[in-house]
Subunit: 161 residues, 2 copies
DNA sequence: ACAGTATAATACGTATCGGTATAATACGAT
DNA sequence: ATCGTATTATACCGATACGTATTATACTGT
C-alpha cells in the first residue's frame, strides 16, 4: 500500500490560507494561465484563437483532417465538449467540418488557411506567456512538477477502471 | 534577470504529446480533482455541496457573516463570480444573504444550519479524495510542487501591477 | 437479410469563471 | 449640505467543460 500524503498535512482540517490547499493552488494556476494566454493572443493580434483551441490546433497542425473523437482524445476533451468547441472554431474561421466519404457518422475536421497560418504566432505567444508565468522556476523543478502531475493523472485513470 | 524555463523545453514547437505541456497538465489535473470531489460529495451524501463552494465554506466555517467581497478575496474569486456562486449556495440551502445594518451596500453571508453541519463530512471527503488523487506522491514532492505553484501565482500578481 | 450491438456526433442542461457595465450607497473635500 | 469619487453587489454575456440522452450509421453474428 502506498503512502498517503494526507498523513503529512495536505489538507489540514483548519485551513487558514487557501494557499495550503493543493486543489486551490492548481485551480488558480490553471485559470491564471488561461487568462494570460487569452490576453497574449489578443495582444499579438491572433484574437481568433482562444486558449481552449490550443489542444485542437496542436493536433491539427500535426495531422489535418481528424475525426472529432480522435481530436478530443488528443486534446483531453469529451466528445460533448468538442461539439461546442468546434462550433466556436468554425465561427472564428480557424477550422471546418467535412463529411467522411468512408463513414457517414464521421465528421472530419480541417484547418482553414487562417488556422494553418496562425501557427507561428500562436506558438510564439504560448512560449512567451509560459516563460513569463514560470519565471524563476528552474528546469529541474519544472520537470519534477510535470512528472508529479502526470502521475496524478494516471492515478485518475486507474480509478476509472 | 531570471532564468527562462523555456530555454529548456517547456513548450517545444513540435508537441507530440500534450503531456509535455505544463498548461495541459495543470488544467487536466484541476478538472480531474474537481470531478473527483463532485463524485466524492455525491457518494458521501453531501450532494448539496459542489467543489466550487469549498473556498467559501472554508472561509465561513472560520468566520461566519462575511461580506461578499471579502469572501471572494479569501476564495480567490471575482465579485461577479461570487454572485452566481452564492445564488447556488442559497438555492442549495447552505448559506443565505442578510443586509448589513451598518452599510446598505453590503450583503453579509451566513451559513445555514445545514451549511454548518456539513463541515465534518465535507472535510472528510476532501481529505479522502485528495489522498486518493495524490496516491504515491511523497510529502516532500508535494511541498515542492505547492511551493512552485505559489511562486507562479505570485508571478501573476507581479504582472498585474 | 436481419436483429442486436457498437460507435460518432450532437443536443441539451448545468456548473464554473471572468469581464464589463450598472445601480445603490458611502465617503471625503469643499 | 453638496459634488465628485470610491465601494459593494449585481446583471448580463461569453467561454469552457462535463454528463446524459438521442440520432444516425456501421458492424456482427446467425
Amino acid at each position: 500500500m502506498k503512502t498517503k500524503v494526507t498523513d503529512g498535512c495536505i489538507f489540514p482540517a483548519s485551513i487558514e490560507d487557501p494557499s495550503d490547499c493543493p486543489y486551490y493552488l492548481i485551480s488558480r494556476v490553471s485559470l491564471m494561465v488561461t487568462s494570460a494566454l487569452k490576453k497574449g493572443f489578443a495582444d499579438a493580434g491572433v484574437d481568433a484563437v482562444k486558449p481552449a483551441y490550443l489542444g485542437v490546433l496542436l493536433a491539427l497542425w500535426r495531422e489535418d483532417g481528424l475525426k472529432v473523437i480522435d481530436l478530443g482524445r488528443q486534446a483531453g476533451l469529451e466528445p460533448s465538449t468538442m461539439t461546442g468547441l468546434l462550433d466556436r472554431m468554425e465561427r472564428d474561421k480557424l477550422a471546418y467540418r467535412a463529411n467522411d466519404p468512408h463513414d457517414r457518422r464521421v465528421q472530419l475536421i480541417y484547418l482553414t488557411d487562417q488556422g494553418r497560418e496562425a501557427r507561428k504566432a500562436v506558438l510564439t505567444v504560448v512560449s512567451d506567456v509560459l516563460s513569463i508565468v514560470f519565471t524563476g522556476i528552474s528546469f529541474q523543478e519544472m520537470s519534477q512538477t510535470m512528472d508529479l502531475l502526470r502521475r496524478v493523472l494516471s492515478n485518475a485513470n486507474e480509478g476509472r477502471k
